[in-house]
Amino acid sequence: MKKYDAVVIGAGNGGLVAAVRLLQGGAKTLLVEKHNLPGGFATSFRRGRFEFEASLHELNDFGTADNAGDVRDLFDALGVTDKIEWMQIPEAYRVISRAEKLDATMPFGVKEFIDKMESYVPGSRPSMTKFFDLAEEIRLAQAYSSSVNGKTDSKIMVGQYGNFVRSGSYSVNEVLDALKMPKKAKDILNAYWCYLGAHCDDLSFVHYASMVNRYIRRGASMPKMRSHEISLALVERIRELGGDVLFNTEAVKILTDEKDGGVNGVVLADGTQIQTRHVVANCAPHVVFGRMMDKVPQAEVKATNARKFAGRGMTMFLGLDADADELGIENHNYFLYDTMDTVAQYNNMKTIKDNEVQATVCLNRAYPECSPKGTCMMYFTTLYMSDDWANVKAEDYYKTKDYVANKMIDRFEQDTGAKLRGHIEEISVATPMTYARYCGHPQGVIYGYESQYWDGLMPRLLMMGEDHTIRGLRFAGGYAMRLSGYSSAYFSGDISGRQTVGDIRKEG
């Protein structure tokens, strides 16, 4: 029987990083992935003369060599930064919201951001300055917390990071109101909310501020060859370190020890048994506890049932046969909303009929050479906050896809004045069914468990230790302790990979 110190199930962003960390820690590691490519959502695909990015809008917290973010530091430590060619995203975002007749374009850089906000919303400077001060303190507090593996000393926390602790239990809107931020400034600042997929009355301020701060302070990056370049670089690194990687190989069972209920093996789809005492699962606890383990502790069943799925994804990809200037696509990154009342907006996003939200990217505005001269590429993403796609039968599937695609194009044209119709050379649409198929996520969820107030970033990090109840089983990826998104998934792989190395060492 094949024997490994650790098996990583799933080669998504979390699983890839976990595998590198395990190998760096000296563990003999097997990475299995059911798809034929690594990366999970971090991939690309070709259509005609275009190569589309599958999911990455912009990589947060990477920064540049002289203004490095935490993701760059992590990639340096993993030994992959130089395997990838990076470029910088030119500006933060343009947010357009119909109800408020809002149309604002925001830059990167804290000073630039605050100045621009002041020009849109005179008098917003004091609250915006406080916001970034607070956000920076949160970043430092999180760095401290990570450095002690979540086992923080409350005296240090209260003494050095008091503002973090005092704001740490509130929602985005509760804190912004306490900072007396003018409504319009709040509306503009809250534009990123759909990246986290919970509305601002529920979403933890710490989580949101931490993300916004990292974007604005460090800028955002993209690998030139799409996120497929990152995924292949990580696989390359795993193989350099002597790890085994098997694609088209689904892990179907995690075997447990009769005595302690902990991990003692993994069964692959073809029946092959792998002996191991450690698994990092880069997939949903719903999947692991629902069908991969025969004996699941009742507490895990209850805990898993208690959690709420976050957004189910949908993305339309367009290859256009004219350049961005000609089509009137001015920006790299758009957020189009009906309203900045995020609770109302969240509720509209429950049905296929009512959801008109989109986060849209024209990659050529960051990287003009990403498609042939005289063309450009766009991708339009939205989230569904319920399982409305579960009501779509196979025979109605393609019509439903077309219905949403047409709505997205119309909306973009109406809100921005750009002209896309008549120039679409390639189109591809990924729905919750597509995400369910490629990554196996329940209901086509792309954001893991929702960052609800009680299950947000802070409580998850604080409970990292006690959430680990089954010996040898840790989680990475969008369902794990750092929540979803590229950088979060990488960090979760880093944490679970290193913790598993620690577990292995303790066993001797």
Partner: protein, 387 residues
Amino acid sequence: MAFVFKKQIFGFMDLLRFKKLVPKRREKLAEGSDAPLPKTYAVNETAKILHPGYQSAKLVSVEQNTADTKTYTFETEKPFYFRAGQYITVGCKIGESEVARPYAVSSAPKAALEKKVAVTVKKCGYFSGYLFDEAKVGDMFVLGDPSGEFCYEPVKDVPHIVALAGGSGITPFYSMAQAIADGTNDFRLTVFYGAKTEQEIIFKKELDALVSDKIKVIYVLSDEEKEGYEHGFIGADLLKKYVSGDFTVMMCGPAAMYAFADRELTAFALPLRRIKKEANCVGARDVEPKTWQLTVHIGFETFTVPADARETVLVAMERAGLKAPSKCRAGGCGFCHSKLLSGKFSLAGADKRRLADGKFGYIHPCCSYPDSDMELIVPKADLPEGM
């Protein structure tokens, strides 16, 4: 820190609230239902109908269409669905070899929901020869996932498709015509169907029965002049005679037909977005025969097999009976994506790999010919049990 954040009147109340985060979550997690977690989900089940992956299928009927064409109808393990115009692979073990070929589906999408799917095959090579001469009702085959983008795309295509079909290239359009007739699709389809002689026309009776205000078929014979048929090749004059207004062209047939059609279509000055071509399988290349050695890592196993310089790396693996994945066999779908550890190769046609694949040394074996000994890591084809 320049300011002290405070939400409540007294800062300690904010601290207390922070302290409650953990007990609160603990409580919520303990309140969850103790019902068993679901084994699957509605969206995931629909995804399995849209993308069944490899499945085994029983050959249930064989119908001879012309002297060298037969239609094979299979009953599949499970219901599935596809878009008219897509292909599936049909494969089986022949002697010691694992062989599979992509064929456009010639039956209607709705039939697949009833577990029925048909492909129409012209006898022209190794696998089609096997199907033609050996396959019999009751035999088991492996069918692949319905794939390909050779479909009417309502968001971008003109709702009038001008189809140029050569020989067995009629099959995807026959599927489309059925899909229009049964209400699955809604567009106008004008088919120009080129064949050498009347005898070689496949589905004449069936196509004629489908003709309506939406479906029109013009038969074009190159080697025969006959009443009721156009004569010659499918060219600009013929298109102008039967077609007016805007249209999107879709073509399926041999490479020579594409070259001719491309020249003829210049008269219409159509942009790229208005022309779609179904890719043809990569065949053998014309070089001196030479045998290279191929070292292949699949799963936990390593195989050393011969590779004929004239054939693709995929064919070498299939001949050796290795379970290598394949789908389009034209370099485009990326299903055979494999890591090249060493060795040289030549690409058949344009490089359709992702940019990073070139950078990190990944190849598509279906369109790569060996130019030296080679070593590859190949993902295993996840075939159904026993196949």
